[in-house]
């Protein structure tokens, strides 16, 4: 039972990271019907932005909660700007071409960020400074680190914040309208270009949070860290039902739990294949995902 609870905590904290990234995939897919392949790399840039800000603040010497918040905010702002730039200069010019063109562009942007990152930051991993002193609480035989607790709490707060923006604000209403039908939303006087840019900013900021959060518990960061994590987060979005925000959270948590669980068995070397196996199963059995609604193709 103890091991089960332990794995549950570990799985949830990993799943929270996937969920935060999956939200960005799902929102962009919602408004543009585009798999933003570069999203995983925005998460990587989030970690690097946090790294540079934290080093500039010399947080390594005097860790503090306030410092960590400043780092996270700075990283979120940087990535939001990067997300908007990517949309403006890579995706907007190809928006009216076929979806395949957009997909190939997205792959191109992803490669550009990964290998551009290697050229600029160097291929060797960097070590993220410890912003918060590590503490371990023991609750009924289960070891919980304050970092994994923080990851879970921060992501839940972020997710509720996002729910609030999407369902309770004017801009959220415009986002939902754009996602429902871009052309009609435009006719209703919504500045869809702005809404799309805003969606990218929001998603990228969430990915940046995930980047900083993951660097708290696994401080090794490198330019290719977003590749696999990004793909798995995308799987999480599909699992929950792409375009569906609560779905992305559920999908992320499920992928995190499954991966941790497999990692604890003797099949741990197959860990990386789990997410893809799940993806294939879900697409064969229920292509719309857990919370998604199947759409009928019209001629």
């Amino acid at each position: 039972m103890d091991t089960f609870l332990q794995q549950l905590i570990n799985g949830l904290s990993l799943g929270a990271i996937y969920a935060l990234i999956a939200l960005g995939y799902t929102m962009v897919y919602g408004v543009l019907r585009l798999i933003n392949f570069a999203h995983g790399d925005v998460y990587m840039l989030g970690a690097f932005a946090g790294f540079f800000i934290a080093n500039a603040m010399h947080l390594d010497a005097n860790p503090s909660i306030l410092g960590a918040i400043v780092v996270t905010m700075g990283s979120m702002a940087t990535c939001a700007a990067i997300g908007v730039l990517i949309e403006r200069f890579a995706y907007r010019p190809v928006r009216h071409n076929s979806r395949l063109t957009s997909l190939i562009t997205a792959i191109g942007v992803s490669l550009l960020l990964e290998y551009g990152g290697q050229v600029v930051f160097g291929a060797a991993p960097r070590f993220f400074p410890q912003m918060i002193r590590s503490e371990t609480y023991s609750v009924g035989g289960v070891q919980i680190t304050n970092q994994s607790l923080l990851i879970i709490v921060v992501s839940v707060v972020m997710m509720f914040g996002l729910e609030f923006i999407v369902h309770r604000t004017k801009i959220g209403t415009a986002m939902r309208a754009t996602s429902h039908n871009l052309a009609v939303a435009k006719l209703m006087g919504i500045n869809t270009d702005f809404i799309i840019a805003f969606t990218f900013a929001l998603g990228s900021a969430l990915a940046a949070t995930a980047g900083v959060m993951v660097a708290l518990s696994i401080p090794k960061i490198d330019p290719l860290m977003g590749l696999m994590t990004g793909l798995k987060a995308f799987v999480a979005a599909v699992l929950g039902g792409i375009g569906n925000i609560p779905g992305a959270m559920i999908g992320g948590m499920l992928i995190g739990l499954m991966e941790t669980w497999i990692g604890a068995t003797s099949y741990s070397t197959y860990r990386d294949a789990v997410a893809f196996g799940v993806l294939i199963l879900i697409l064969i059995v229920r292509p719309a995902g857990i919370l998604g609604t199947a759409s009928v193709e019209k001629v």
């Binding site: 585009l34 190809v94 979806r99 395949l100 997909l103 190939i104 490669l111 290998y115 050229v119 330019p223």
Partner: protein, 350 residues
């Protein structure tokens, strides 16, 4: 072309390949610098990969992102076949693996094994995933590619993470280019056949194709299986090439993307475009070798920029769906004198 002309072309090609094989492999007195010979070999394998991917991505319009996975399946089974049984097969014929007769027989057998295993993998992957469209298909094929890679990593008999270093280097110039030409001929012939028309119909509009009576699933799976088995052949060649052992690390997502870049650059749907793309993308790292050493990753940055700019300014690729053919060049030379009246150069018309 008449049957006679075709037969003549085949014989001439064969003689040329055998002759060039002597030069490239250094069997006779004269040998090309092994460094360049090697680049040419790699280009040949890339041509097979790119042209085969073009069948599914270009001709059928189904975006597959898992080509490297099928290359891995074919490559590993073929190489394993040679390692396990190659020597005894050659011995049974009173020859060795390194002599022309034994080497060729084992090569043909291993190519067949590679093609067959990759075809089976293509069938298994294709049936469930080809029900999906567009970006979903892309992500599922990517997933299958990754699963194949992880599974290979976990098989110690083929070297796991260290790569298949036990491989016997029996691949040579002749086989590489014979297979590249075979791939081009197969893909070209499929395209010219009724199957090819059906595939083009699926690409243009799947619902309309279905309404016209095309069995879309069957045709898509067929194209996928042929494409995978040709990728398996490329894998078999590359796995048994001198000093390039197969390694799961080189057969992942990035390799699949590299092949995509080749066909996107040349023009999605054009065979000559794919060949052109394969040549450029394989030779480019060698040209940029010094730069790449100084700034690791810069080569990939160049690819990425190329891909993005290509999509923004010329999404159909350099050649689009056009083919560079003898007829086309012929027309070009015919048109040139008309543009400059009185110019010489059309001696053949007199």
């Amino acid at each position: 072309m008449s049957f006679r002309a075709k037969a003549a072309a085949a014989v001439i090609t064969l003689i040329l390949l055998v002759g060039l094989n002597y030069v490239f492999e250094g069997l006779g007195d004269f040998q090309i610098d092994p460094y360049y010979a090697r680049i040419v070999s790699l280009i040949g394998i890339s041509i097979t990969l790119a042209v085969s991917l073009n069948l599914i991505n270009g001709q059928t319009g189904q975006f597959s992102l898992g080509h490297a996975g099928f290359m891995a399946v074919g490559g590993y089974t073929a190489t394993f076949f040679t390692v396990a049984w190659g020597a005894s097969i050659a011995q049974a014929m009173g020859s060795t693996l390194m002599s022309p007769l034994g080497g060729s027989v084992v090569m043909v057998l291993s190519l067949a094994v590679g093609a067959l295993s990759a075809a089976v993998a293509g069938l298994l992957v294709g049936i469930p995933s080809l029900r999906l469209k567009g970006d979903y298909l892309a992500i599922v094929t990517l997933g299958f590619g990754e699963i194949i890679r992880v599974v290979i990593l976990n098989i110690p008999a083929v070297g796991g993470a260290t790569g298949f270093t036990d491989a016997v280097p029996i691949t040579n110039f002749f086989w590489i280019f014979a297979m590249a030409i075979l791939t081009i001929v197969i893909v070209r012939n499929i395209r010219a056949s009724t199957y090819g028309r059906a595939l083009a119909a699926i690409r243009e509009d799947e619902i309309a194709a279905e309404a016209m009576g095309v069995d879309t699933t069957r045709h898509k799976v067929l194209a996928f299986v042929v494409s995978s088995s040709l990728a398996g052949i490329a894998g078999a060649l590359s796995g048994q090439l001198f000093a390039t052992p197969l390694n799961p690390a080189n057969l992942g997502f990035v390799k699949s993307i590299e092949v995509i870049i080749m066909i996107v650059l040349g023009g999605i749907g054009s065979i000559t475009g794919a060949v052109l793309g394969a040549v450029v993308i394989t030779a480019l790292p060698e040209v940029l070798r010094d730069v790449d050493k100084q700034y690791p990753g810069l080569r990939m940055v160049v690819y990425a920029l190329l891909l993005i700019l290509m999509m923004i300014f010329r999404p159909q690729g350099l050649l689009g769906r056009r083919e560079l053919s003898v007829d086309w060049l012929w027309k070009l030379t015919r048109r040139a004198p008309a543009a400059t009246p009185g110019g010489g150069g059309n001696v053949d018309e007199q």
